[in-house]
Subunit: 356 residues, 2 copies
DNA sequence: AATCCATATTAGATCGATCTAATATCCAGA
DNA sequence: TCTGGATATTAGATCGATCTAATATGGATT
């Protein structure tokens, strides 16, 4: 009797260092040439039925694993896409990544992912690595502080790049981004409709493109409503709850404090909500707050946060689609896709309180 | 006059389809053989100073890009690691991914990332793809519903696999996981110390290993405190706020409702907090709640959520380190690393309320 | 001048696939 | 019988790197 063998016999390493099964092995086993095996692997109609069967049998029998790298090398193609995300710990960007990966996978691409943690040097490093891996294209969510030089360099790389969520000014690269200005404008108009005229803008990093855009939308709404802009109502701060707390305190300390706040983002709004309560203001009745992003936590604050949804997962899918188009046709001009956000009215806004 | 040209002229494609610059080109330009160029590329001390300089000059001059795939093919190595995550939209797993990627990048590996969205079929597909790409190892956070067959198959793959956060029972694969039972036990003991004796366990999917473990810890604590277990107090439910709402309602409808709840996770706890308020219970005074995971939102609930921290980013780093060890020494036995969590006491627990 | 050793370089095979151009086979039609 | 066309298969070069084993070069030593 033969010695016992598990159901899933690892019969593939007779020698110590099991050599990989290759097309050559398949060819030998099936009694055909390597070329024919290759045709079978790529589902060519040129192969006779019976021959195909024999090869497929060999594949099963020998436990063959296709080597995509070797194939890509010979074909001078690539089925890998680089995905450079600035901060995955932010659920907003995590959603983006999910949309990206989903669309890329569906198209038969595999994602080389890196999280830069907003570190431009690390970003440079990983991009270089992925370039050396022959990524067919790049999805880039640039780290804050990315130098314009990078963009210039990338144009020379001769590989398509799509920016998402953020973009480098002056870049002749494609981009898929939300209409931040419009979103903030819609939010501001909502407050104006409720009677607010002293509206603060809290949080965001000065100089950052995204911040600039959001402030632009805020200003446009005030302007359209005939409200004179007051620079002291714009309070930049770190993009986290702590920043929100600080910014709210600063704005409440003004001679004429605001009756409502547009927050740079939901996480800033979280801090603003906490700080409002701490300052004895009942949100909605005494003070109105609007966030931005509509992250998962937004509907679970107390009261639930009114905010602007930008659908990061959908943006990811669109960005992936745009990149795939560029990969398919390299002469395709870099396009810019700007998605409209929507205002999600929940419970943090009320009419302007009656002056004491 | 010449037609205008951008400052950063892509001078590398004189012909339409610019051929890649290869070691052969470098060799020609530097007047040496391909072998010598290869030695320079790998920083070999065998090369004379002057020769190295000439090759490096050619590299700069021709804009050479190293081809890692070709090198990996020849060397029969791989610098890619597969990272299979079940649900990146969950901040908990996003943090895990960040820790993983960070450690892998630091070690010179690049991450092939896929998000399975808890779909075993998609998981199977991406794992197969990454295998064909020659991933040096796998980090697997198995989708719920993963069949045991997968594990069996992977043992035959002859490539190291480390499971994180979750694991497939019976798998002879490495794993890096939090001590869920201990975490839940600590949480339960906290409630017991506060005088609670009717403690519910809310949320979690029955049959899931993680749920089983957490319930085990819960039971152990009750047992140690001499409290008779009451199966009706264990209410499985979807792992999201909606599940929490449902589960709390169900438990409050019991003849003898609980005075405190251990939630399967923070997101479940969010729903439980909302539902408690809706039921007229003031959390802490009337009803105590503990979450699990310590996600970012946990400190911004009202009151801030007492929970169990498991440090997903650190787990990611450890898992990466474990995998790298297996890659370095394939004979290394699959190890199991179990990390102790810690209880984060915030504001959702109080002494057992005086009976009316 | 011959030998030896250390240093520096290289020709050619190789990794695992694909592609081109050629060849083999068979049957229909002149 | 020969030509032509469709069908099926293949030898050998190739992608871009590395590796092995051999060779070239230049002192130092006898």
């Amino acid at each position: 009797m033969e010695p016992a063998r598990g159901k899933h016999e690892g019969a593939r390493d007779p020698n110590r260092k099991s050599r990989r099964v290759t097309v050559t092995d398949l060819a030998r086993a099936a009694g055909v040439s390597r070329s024919t095996v290759s045709l079978v692997l790529r589902d060519s109609p040129l192969v006779k039925r019976e021959t195909r069967r024999r090869v497929e049998e060999a594949i099963d029998h020998l436990g063959y694993v296709y080597n995509r790298n070797a194939a890509n090398l010979r074909r001078r193609t690539s089925d890998m896409v680089a995905m450079i995300i600035n901060d995955l710990t932010n659920p907003f960007f995590a959603e983006l990544a999910v949309g990206l990966e989903e669309a890329l996978e569906a198209a038969g691409f595999v994602s080389l992912m890196a999280n830069t943690g907003e570190d431009p040097e690390r970003q440079r490093r990983v991009m270089e690595t992925m370039r050396e891996h022959g990524a067919a294209g790049f999805i880039l969510c640039p780290a804050t502080g990315t130098e314009a030089r990078l963009v210039a360099a990338m144009s020379d790389w001769n590989v398509p790049v799509i920016q998402v969520m953020r973009w480098l000014p002056g870049a002749r690269l494609g981009a898929v981004v939300p209409d931040y200005a419009l979103g903030m404008r819609m939010a501001a108009e909502h407050l104006v409709t409720l009677g607010h005229r002293r509206i603060a803008f809290l949080g965001g990093i000065e100089g950052n493109v995204v911040t600039t855009e959001r402030i632009r939308g805020y200003r446009a709404a005030l302007d359209a409503a005939g409200i004179a802009p007051d620079p002291s109502l714009i309070v930049p701060a770190a993009v986290n709850p702590g920043g929100g707390i600080e910014a709210l305190r600063a704005s409440l300390a003004l001679q004429r404090p605001p009756t409502a706040a547009l927050c740079f983002s939901d996480v800033v709004a979280f801090g603003v909500l906490d700080a409002s309560a701490a300052a004895g203001l009942k949100v909605r009745r005494d003070f109105s707050v609007i966030g931005f992003d509509d992250i998962a936590g937004a509907r679970h604050t107390l009261p639930p946060l009114t905010t602007v949804a930008v659908y990061p997962q959908e943006l990811g899918r669109r960005a992936a689609a745009a990149l795939l188009r560029c990969i398919a046709d390299p002469n395709d001009p870099p396009e810019e896709e700007i998605l409209a956000p929507s205002l999600i009215v929940r419970g943090t806004c009320g009419p302007v309180p009656i002056e004491a």
